[in-house]
Assembly symmetry: C2
Homo-oligomer: 378 residues x 2
């Protein structure tokens, strides 16, 4: 990607209402943009991070044998009346009357919808166990949206639902998801603790939450629940066991705040200059900075490195803006790209500088060997 | 993927309200599931198709130099009052009053939001031209939702917006998008015509729509608009030109019904047995069918083929259900996988049967050469 043709609107000033470091840096680095209270656009670089986190979640869920689908956000309120959760959700839930006078809601979570799908399509023990999941936008009319994407009104979640023939099966599914969550958060570069939690409006008998370490104490990034037969009994989700007996399905549910992970990563990875992305989720691994845009030799070398890294599948941005080197260094630090390749006068001796953002350390590297240097770092 | 651990709930009967072949087949093949009028879940196999279409759209947009971001669905109604579209949209638009008494809407389209982002972050001719796009769920309270995902109330769209310094620039961006659309629809295996169209509530001076060929005449799958300065004037999206003069930005907008493409593909690719997916969007390229689940030799060979194709990056499903061969053949035809690999008694002579779904033709192939056979077909 060339910076001039891209869109990373960095800014010098902290946003006024920002209380957390992740909020400040996400706005200042041009990763997100506020549209309304608790409602944010993911600008191009922010979306790249979101997609990387999303893919880590997807890969680990698939490895665990979970199956992805995509449920609608629009849901009939009638489903929520079956489980008596319509009133429990209160004003957090966004509802409206459609033009045909039906009461509809925008899904803050999907236990009702997935249970409805399963009760109609899963009839036999032969179809169990199964874990179904989706990565989808959720809506909650939070009374006090804050900390940008940490407590937003519209956010991306991974929600998974397990279906088993008995309690022992549920325990297995639950343990599998717990192990999967550990792998996901580790790959995202998050430090976290797991603690027993209140099940709240989701219900069930037992739940644990994954809390990311950092200054902002809000950040639950994952929450897993043993629901048991609560939903299957109220919605009549039964299956036929191997002896021909009708029994309620045992359920679990497992949420990850995909967009919230991004804020949690920043809360644990920054310095006074800006964000320090872990390699696994960085929007670009390398930022190439030509220090003088009117020097053909420097530009030419920068283009060569850019093309070579691109061809080797490394996510790279070339800062081709007509700005001073100092301006570009500041933006590079702010945006937190793991490597800065600085192409300056030493290029005439075949050397470039590589700065590792995390260690704030610069090394001279042979121009010819830069690709190997970056690859070795992985 | 193994069929038993997956979730493709096929059914024999056509859904009652289905008027189009794509509606019937999507439901019968277990690709989508109805939750409410005009509201559908993408079941796992359906989601795989959706993701493949989405990726074709993304790849071609990126090749054209367009930059992806992700805007929120939730939007303040006030933005729509600036352009006077709030009333024009009428009951198609879903709106609600939030808990802090602000009027909000769920985005049926995003001209207002993108123009708001651009007016705040793009100030100079140096930042232009740029084409920004997103792939995102849209909401419209259709008066008569029908044909399943063809006219739904919740659907996936790619919407792009171009920003130029003058009319000539807009013409260039428009032409670039038109060429990009042709490539996208061709890669999806769609036959289409382009015709001049009414601009309707989107506005602007000139628009063309891409109409997929097929029996169902609704299927506009793409619509491109020259908006000119309509939005930039009403929302004050100005830039400074190279002479320091403030001027309104010239805009275009470009929509593709991502979920609608799926229905359009089916309308042009089916027979009396079911769907015939083009290779580019098939949920699985190959369905391996062991004709007897109690024959260890057959099972073993099926597993070997499954592993080999998987390792070679071919999307493959193994139908390991404890069902008759006839039952599996019917499902394979219905779901429209391009190749069926039938592992039967001839495996003892080192032979398997490969059926090409589109041509309904079966060939005997050496067990050892099946991977090359499939690869050659691409």
């Amino acid at each position: 990607m060339k910076w001039r043709k891209y869109f990373i609107p960095t800014q010098k000033e902290d946003p006024k209402e920002a209380e957390t470091i992740s909020h400040k840096l996400l706005i200042r680095a041009g990763f997100i943009d506020k549209l309304a209270s608790g409602v944010y656009t993911y600008l191009p670089a922010g979306l790249r991070v979101l997609k990387k986190v999303e893919n880590i979640v997807r890969e680990e869920m698939n490895k665990a044998g979970a199956v992805e689908l995509l449920m609608p956000s629009l849901q009939p309120a009638s489903l929520w009346k079956e489980t008596k959760r319509f009133d429990k959700m209160g004003k957090d839930m966004i509802s409206f009357i459609d033009r045909h006078n039906r009461e509809m809601i925008f899904g803050p979570t999907h236990e009702e919808v997935i249970t409805d799908i399963v009760r109609r399509h899963i009839k036999s023990w032969k179809q169990l166990p199964i874990i179904l999941y989706q990565i989808q936008t959720k809506f909650r009319d939070e009374i006090r949206p804050r900390f940008a994407i940490i407590r937003a009104r519209e956010f991306l979640m991974k929600d998974a639902y397990s279906f088993d023939i008995d309690e022992k099966g549920l325990d297995n599914s639950y343990d599998l998801m717990k192990e999967t969550y550990k792998k996901i958060f580790e790959r995202c570069g998050l430090k976290f603790t797991i603690r027993e939690a209140e099940s709240g409006v989701i219900g069930g008998k037992f739940s644990e939450e994954f809390v990311a370490e950092g200054e902002c104490t809000e950040l639950e990034v994952g929450h897993i629940f043993k629901l048991g037969t609560e939903y299957s009994l109220s919605m009549k989700a039964y299956f036929m066991d191997r002896y021909g007996m009708e029994k309620p399905i045992y359920m679990g549910c497992y949420g990850i705040g995909v967009s919230r992970i991004i804020a949690a990563i920043i809360e644990g990875n920054y310095d006074d200059k800006g964000i320090i992305w872990p390699l696994s989720v960085a929007p670009f691994t390398v930022d190439i900075i030509p220090i003088n845009m009117s020097d053909g030799f420097i530009l030419n070398a920068s283009e060569k490195i850019y093309n070579e890294l691109n061809e080797n599948g490394i996510d790279v941005i070339l800062d081709d803006r007509d700005e001073s080197a100092g301006f570009k260094f500041k933006d590079a630090d702010l945006c937190g790209f793991p490597f800065q390749i600085i192409v300056g006068k030493k290029i005439k001796e075949g050397k470039i500088e590589v700065k590792k953002r995390r260690y704030n350390k610069t090394e001279l590297v042979d121009f010819e060997k830069v690709n190997d240097y970056i690859k070795d770092a992985f």
